[in-house]
């Protein structure tokens, strides 16, 4: 079990390391400016070599054997493995597990190990609050990370941190987890990435030039969508401020289990479909209501669920395509949209 996970992590590290090495070599021989200029002329901004990556999210696995959600995650993996061309890697958007137990996380890591390409992952609230991330970290590693790939700087943050509501209340780990499992739970309040990760982020991007293509990946959206369901990240304004120097930032997130697009300043924001169930659109007006999907039909067991793939061009334009398991998209969304 841990072999499989370690294998995919090693695979990923070597691949991320390669991208990093190229950059280092260029800088070491003092030709970075020249290289960048030439590459920019050929392939656009900062030399992005066009590629695609996929996002799988919110599998919410339960402990029962042969649970239908196991099959749905496996279907997502098969769908990504069958994409042509193959995505360079897969981001998983959090909520592998439903109740945060080790067996659920292990089951998820085994199904995800069937991916033909490397996996990068950040946690969701359902993964975390039974043991405060111990099992998750053991399986998947650090929850705060960045790497460079084909000219794009990818960042992952843990956005589901809440203030300590359990110690004073004398809650057991299970009680704490149960509180966090309910989307509309009145207890935990808004979550975010908190001070340490903000510092990490500021440090991570401080030497990057403004025209560096940046993709940031979190469980929850980096804007105030619907705080009651934690469709928000409380320190998103600080995150956006740190990233405000960049020409173009793409934010991708899980947690909302639906199609969704927004743009604030230099940042576009795109949500991932889940593989377990779709969530209703909350009662707020959207700036881009045309990016909503059809109302899911409960008699179609996997309506409103699926995966997504993003093609990045040489000029760091993204083509976002949702790949639902069923015919869940409006005509507007069927051919994808540009970010």
């Amino acid at each position: 079990m841990s072999d499989i996970v370690d294998h995919s992590r090693r695979q990923f590290l070597s691949f991320a390391g390669k991208a990093g090495l190229t950059t280092l070599v260029a800088q070491a021989v003092g030709i970075n400016l020249g290289v960048v200029d030439i590459v920019r002329a050929q392939t656009g901004k900062r030399g992005v070599e066009p590629f695609r990556f996929a996002i799988v999210s919110d599998s919410h696995l339960y402990s029962m054997p042969d649970h239908k959600f196991d099959q749905q995650l496996a279907e997502a993996v098969a769908q990504v493995n069958a994409m042509t061309p193959l995505p360079d890697f897969v981001l998983f958007g959090g909520d592998v597990a439903q109740n945060g137990t080790e067996d659920q996380l292990v089951k998820g890591s085994k199904i995800l190990a069937e991916l033909k390409m490397p996996l990068k992952i950040i946690p969701g609230e359902h993964d975390w609050y039974l043991d405060m991330g111990d099992a998750w970290r053991g399986l998947f590693g650090d929850e705060t990370w960045s790497f460079n790939h084909k000219g794009v700087h990818f960042i992952g943050l843990n956005s589901i941190l809440v203030r300590d509501f359990w110690t004073e209340a004398g809650m057991t780990p299970l009680e704490r987890m149960t509180v966090m499992e309910m989307l509309e739970s009145p207890i935990p309040g808004p979550w975010g990435v908190h001070e340490k990760q903000l510092e990490w982020l500021a440090n991570d991007v401080k030497d990057l030039a403004p025209d560096t293509p940046v993709v940031i990946f979190t469980h929850s959206p980096l804007w105030d969508y619907y705080p009651r369901w934690n469709f928000q990240t409380s320190d998103a304004p600080e995150i956006r401020e740190i990233l405000s120097k960049f020409d173009n930032v793409m934010s991708y997130h899980g947690h909302v289990h639906q199609t969704l697009y927004n743009r604030i300043g230099n940042m576009s924001s795109v949500a991932a479909l889940g593989t377990a169930w779709p969530w209703p659109y909350p009662p707020v007006e959207l700036a881009f209501p045309e990016t909503r999907m059809n109302r899911a039909d409960p008699s179609i067991a996997t309506d409103g669920m699926g995966t997504q793939v993003i093609d990045l061009s040489g000029s760091f334009e993204g083509l976002v395509q949702y790949k639902p398991f069923e015919d869940s998209l409006t005509p507007f969304m069927r051919d994808g949209f540009k970010v």
């Binding site: 649970h67 239908k68 009145p186 105030d224 928000q232 909350p282 959207l286 109302r295 039909d297």
Partner: protein, 171 residues
């Protein structure tokens, strides 16, 4: 009609009007319920809503065999649209009441045992869902129509106002 008869009618009307004026200014007619009675009724309703809230979030084991509760897909009862029932649902091919829709979800996505449609638990489920949809227009609908947007007032959700249209109002 004779003049006498008309006068008699006018007298009757005048007496009635006088009675109405007197009634409005006095406590001749008692209020339908006392404040205490009203408080007790409200408490009974809230108790049923609270039971419904618990059931909606998985408190009754036989409602599921796969761990799913109503709240998995319907946070704050969103997209359940109780006030649009009875309505046509494709899985039945006919018009059904809300409680039948609840039982469909229990038996299918949740793979559990249906509730007694006349039992207190089903009433509580309805009390919770309908309470969150109070004030919404009762519009018998079609299965394909978009969900009713509800802003939740019941429950102590944390006090932050969604800005809604994709711009944070914080600096």
């Amino acid at each position: 009609m004779t003049t006498n008869k008309m006068l008699k009618i006018e007298r009757v009307l005048a007496v009635s009007a006088l009675a109405a004026v007197l009634a409005a200014g006095t406590s001749w007619a008692r209020a339908p319920f006392t404040d205490e009675e009203l408080a007790a009724q409200k408490a009974a309703l809230v108790e049923s809503i609270a039971l419904g809230y618990d059931l909606w979030h998985g408190s009754r084991a036989d409602m599921t065999t796969n761990g799913l509760a109503c709240g998995n897909c319907h946070p704050d009862t969103a997209a359940s649209n109780p006030q649009t029932f009875p309505k046509y649902m494709t899985m039945y091919g006919k018009v059904i009441p809300f409680r039948e829709m609840v039982n469909w979800c229990i038996e299918n996505p949740q793979a559990g045992t249906r509730l007694d449609v006349d039992g207190d638990d089903m009433t509580a489920m309805e009390a919770y869902a309908f309470y969150l949809h109070r004030g919404k227009e009762i519009t018998p609908g079609l299965a394909s129509e978009q969900t009713t947007p509800i802003v939740v007032e019941y429950g102590t959700g944390f006090a932050r106002t969604p800005t809604g249209i994709g711009v944070d109002n914080r600096p």
